[in-house]
Symmetry: C3
């Protein structure tokens, strides 16, 4: 693997083995998916004591619960007796977690409450459910399966004002959709990192967002936007993402990108989609890109937010989950139309499903060789640099 | 593998690798499924000359035939020419076994009868079908694929009176059902070894059988039963199972277990299910557990018998076959109702299908660790001890 | 692998590993499927400038195109940017090949025409599509993925008259059918090499072709045929196939085989199927076997030709493609009936699908051992000799 990593030539795509070798996939599970912070949902999904939902990927199943004291917990869905899954429903409300196999029962914070017919030397306190690190970012729930997770402190301090501006803790999730992609997860993440493909592949997106333009034109739009808009919290730019993250910290990124003239939001014709978010008082003809950790991305329009999360199912299959958020006070039918609001990114992600699967097919060929990246694939290059770094033994 | 085996801690469940590592699975095929005795059916299934049925598992297919002299044979369903399967029907009647590919034909005891256009130096007598060891236990057919199988002599001598009492050779098979379990075969066998899960998972069973009670209560029932019943052949107990088997012999076990008060048989409400078996003259409110070899189990009620057999399909999938037997003279509609008679164990095995699949899901987690067994999992512990012993290089 | 190869005993079938070991399969891909010449179609399928079709197997996809100058090209369907498949349709007509991902566009001979937003140091001339060797044999299109392919010169010189006689470049493809076989590709090819199985498995074929007869009888028919027919181009015999091929050359074979008395063509009752091919002026009651390379076979009746091609999908699955050709001037409904003309080999190949899958099942058994071949499996033996030779490291 060291040899493969060292052979990588900057400015080019990755070699085939990174997309097809199962040992590399196992290393990725260990070094990326069991280490880094992952977005799993929003506090608004479990408002009441006893509410829970499952987050599942690869071989893992994690229960996100709300306790009596209002605390949110993440617990491995694996009974400490003989390992059965405990929660079989994807979401619900329960007083305690009772394993359906032998009826061991656990509190909503994972403490073992009862286990029948165990010998006297059995220590209940040592047999609680495995707890998973959890952090709330605004109302967004992130987990890390690492023993000692990367720090989120600088990010939380750095972006607090921004989270407040957009009212992250005053949103509600109105739709989640799962897209199955017949490709290695990296091809899906790489696809999301670059807008070189937007013009040929995403006509609808390209009619709304300036990011689809060639660099020179896009920069003109960006400079013009920044000259007229002066809200420092809204228009700032943080570049601590991927290989640019500080040692020991989770990577993150924030920037504001202009829409095309006349566009207010990510909808057909760029018309307004819902109530303005948080403390936003006006449309400024732009949208923010936010990234927290390597797998979770958010596109913040002034009146709604779209979240993306990429997770593997196997070396050759992954899923992209999309999450649509609006102001918690927005009402369907009155403030927003669900179909209009989800139209752009549902359509775009369906197109990406096909694009990325066709990329995998070619990468599988014995004759595929890494190709030269364009000048519109710089963000993508940072992903590759980071990836090779975290893979190192 | 030695390290994995040595790391096992008694009183705990097995580590993950035993359920997920394909090398271990191949070792199991060699040391367990190609060695130990396996129940394949009952002589009553092939009463006439030329009758046959197939027994299939993993990559193997075995033809069980009845010859002209009435003998029962087990033959590999693999042509000695280029290896084609010969019998394609699951059961039937035939004069000889003719390979559909090149028409080599074999006698019902496997002798090669004819092979067209072979050179003169071809030795027909050296090209019969591979014969598999077969033993009749009462009318029950067992096979072993070992070159030199474990001895069944002590077992046959020890349990002869019991087989006679229940009339094993005067039964008939009235139904066989296959249950596909999305789990490693061991999780299915372990599930069958313990009644710790009966109360939470099998309400219907628990309302009929005393074995679902906690140990102290169950022992009260057992002692009361043994005090009033004195048929030594019926109430005996043999503990030569799993790691308790004698060197060079196949393991076996027999014991009589009380039903709950008022229950006669394994039916809804515990009512009688069919004619009394063999030489049985009265219901005694109990049922016998019989195990022959590590994969075949029988639950003998006074009026019918249920057989279970566990076989792997792959490391992550197995099948449980259930067999229902009644007295050979019993008539459907008059002596028994098929639906009533099969109700309890069909229902219970369907529940186990789900339970065991959910166990596998949790065992697959990177965070699964072996857990402490309860005092109701002693039989299960013997299975684990035996398993680790036979796996040793 | 060397040990496995050296252990092979001539006159017997291959050992199990050759059909089940994935390392061997990878070696086969390299040494056979990425080296040898493969039949992919006929020039008549792409008559116009811009016409193309795809040839796909294992992980490879190859575009066969007709350029403005009328030349036929074979190009890897893998974009030189990040590896996406370019052509997604199985066939069609296009001015240029435009990758749907980032819109890199290529000429029909593979030259890179345009790539947006690349840095100045990007060399377009070094980023054309990977070209695959292609050779026209009559109008039959063959490709080789080897860097330096085996020579076809002797074959082309040797068989030119024969190709002319049957008018290979004046045919048209009227039907292609794909048969999925649940077996290793070698079992399918071996099946095609021997007529030992014809009598038991292919009644319809055996009622038309003398090749199904035992050797002595078949030779009588052959001698009688050769005595009365004297067209040297039609009745010749070339044996440069498999292990008999000359060093550095691709193997090939041609021979003329009699039909049974009264039969004119490969149809029900042996009746005429279509217009006579090429310069053929009469039915001579025979058909020719032609083999070019190890995977492509042709059966040439006087009035139509059937092509076969065997390609792997994975170690345990393969496809057989059948191609039916008639004289380019033949008209459906008037000169031929498609159903009548395709009847025999569609039926026969469907039967082979089952036969070969049942062969694989038995070969998978732990108890399968190589078996002795018959005297009717000599051609098959040449395949085995060649196979073991090309597999050698």
């Amino acid at each position: 693997m060291s040899e493969l990593i060292n052979n990588y030539q900057s400015g080019y795509s990755l070699g085939q083995s990174f997309y097809t070798n199962d040992d590399i996939y196992q290393k990725e599970i260990e070094n990326i998916f069991l280490k880094h912070w992952i977005f799993v949902g929003h506090a608004s999904q479990i408002p009441e004591h006893g509410d829970f939902f499952l987050f599942e990927f690869d071989q893992e199943s994690i229960i996100i619960t709300r306790t009596k004291t209002g605390e949110i917990n993440a617990l491995l869905n694996v009974c400490r007796h003989r390992g059965s899954h405990i929660c079989l429903e994807k979401k619900g409300n329960t007083k305690s977690l009772i394993c359906p196999y032998h009826a061991w029962s656990y509190n909503l914070d994972g403490k073992l409450l009862a286990a029948r017919n165990m010998n006297d030397d059995f220590d209940k306190s040592a047999n609680g459910l495995h707890r998973v690190h959890l952090e709330l970012i605004g109302g967004l729930i992130f987990i890390s399966l690492a023993e000692k997770p990367l720090s989120l402190k600088s990010m939380q301090a750095d972006l607090k004002d921004t989270f407040d501006l957009f009212g992250f803790d005053k949103m509600k999730l109105i739709k989640q959709n799962t897209y199955h992609i017949r490709a290695n997860w990296k091809l899906a993440v790489e696809n999301y990192q670059e807008c070189y493909h937007c013009t040929p592949s995403h006509r609808e997106y390209s009619e709304i967002h300036a990011a689809a333009l060639p660099p020179a034109k896009r920069n003109q739009h960006l400079e013009a936007y920044l000259k007229t808009k002066t809200n420092a919290v809204r228009t700032r730019s943080c570049d601590c993402y991927f290989d640019l993250a500080n040692e020991g910290e989770e990577g993150y990124q924030y920037s504001r990108e202009p829409l095309l003239p006349g566009m207010k939001s990510g909808t057909a014709g760029g018309i307004a989609a819902s109530r303005l978010l948080g403390n936003i008082t006006d449309y400024d003809g732009a949208a923010s890109d936010l990234m927290i950790g390597p797998l979770s991305f958010f596109l913040i329009y002034d009146d709604h937010m779209v979240g993306y999360r990429f997770m593997p199912l196997s070396i050759a299959n992954c899923v992209c989950d999309l999450f649509w958020f609006v102001h918690e006070a927005a009402e369907e039918g009155k403030d927003y139309d669900l179909k209009e609001l989800t139209w752009l990114w549902d359509l775009t992600t369906q197109a990406d499903e096909e694009i990325v699967a066709n990329n995998q097919k070619g990468v599988n060929s014995h004759f595929y060789r890494p190709g030269k990246l364009s000048e519109m694939e710089g963000f993508h290059q940072h992903f590759l640099n980071w990836y090779l770094k975290v893979l190192k033994p």
